[in-house]
Symmetry: C3
Subunit: 148 residues, 3 copies
């Protein structure tokens, strides 16, 4: 039986990064609801009736934009959480792991900023950085899982 | 090397809660497909041809409602799974952990019930309770990860 | 304190399966962006302006199809990752666990193939196989968590 290597500081740093990004995603979800409330435009007819607003479908652009940023966040956070947990449990290099965590955190903070402030080049670059971190980290974890 | 604390009963209870909520989400996914089949209205043209129904886009409201409940479930389940796993692995208080698990389970069962039966106040309250559990649990786990 | 059973080969195989499926989901996400770029049709007005394309809403069918395959993938990958991690940590049967991993990998590779090549029966069967693996694996893990 192999004990997984929950070494500090990698385990702690990885935990921190996914907690911070989870909180950001949580806030984006709440921002969607808050923006619907501010605009008084609701996707559910019962909400429109309850809060005396309009029933719209699809969401207005301001809500849909936050929703797209939120969805992109969750898609990438899921994959990073899976690949990162596999990486940490595989016992691969701490230094590389710390670099992956730092780069991914940076990439996703910039992605949200770029989405909400409508800067498509920054958004594309931030998305690509996060994408590359997940891809490289996955392959790295897979190689360590095979060869250990 | 720090061994993570997979103490029963918190580890067992956390495992149970995410398994139950996963099964609920799985059923919502299947209900989407079943409702499309019952209404004979399909999002994919090849499905409409195969099952002799209509090709519609977007989904009819009955399907879209289950889809919204499903999506909201998965968004929150992902964040709870991440934050909960970090919490369990951090070795923080069992008693608080059990309370978080119980409250989150309750919140998400009520959320689905409220969504499908069109009770917007209950849905809002259930969503808020789940939201607060994730937020408090994350901060709690982060504090323990830093200070241990 | 119970030590979770991170036994090879189940732990390694589970890690591999979720890494492979994460990479597939990552590629579907990138394919969405690439197809938008190829068609010069963008959901974000700032992208249309930047890349000199058209601003459309909703996405064209070719993009929406990849998006649906991607979303279905992530929904199922999330549930499999949660249930699979609970299963591995519960210390349940390795042989059954290996079978679940193999069947789920097969199911989800076929699902994506069937979605992109518009074969609805194969898609339905692949989805159902993945669904059953998650459901059976969850119940199996829950039983072991209770009775251990």
């Amino acid at each position: 039986m192999i004990q997984p290597a929950f070494d500090p500081p990698l385990f702690t740093v990885f935990g921190f990064v996914i907690l911070i990004l989870s909180l950001k995603a949580l806030l984006l979800g709440a921002a969607t609801a808050a923006t619907r409330g501010r605009l008084k435009q609701f996707l559910n007819p019962e909400d429109a009736q309850w809060l005396k607003g309009a029933h719209v479908n699809p969401d207005p652009e301001a809500v849909a934009r936050i929703g797209r940023a939120h969805r992109n966040d969750l898609e990438n956070l899921l994959l990073f959480a899976i690949c990162g947990a596999s990486y940490v449990a595989s016992g691969a290099s701490q230094l590389a792991g710390l670099a992956y965590c730092g780069l991914f955190l940076l990439a996703r903070l910039l992605h949200t900023l770029a989405y909400l402030t409508r800067r498509p080049e920054l958004r594309r670059n931030a998305y690509t950085l996060g994408f590359l971190v997940i891809a490289v980290m996955s392959v790295h974890a897979a190689v360590v899982l095979i060869t250990r």
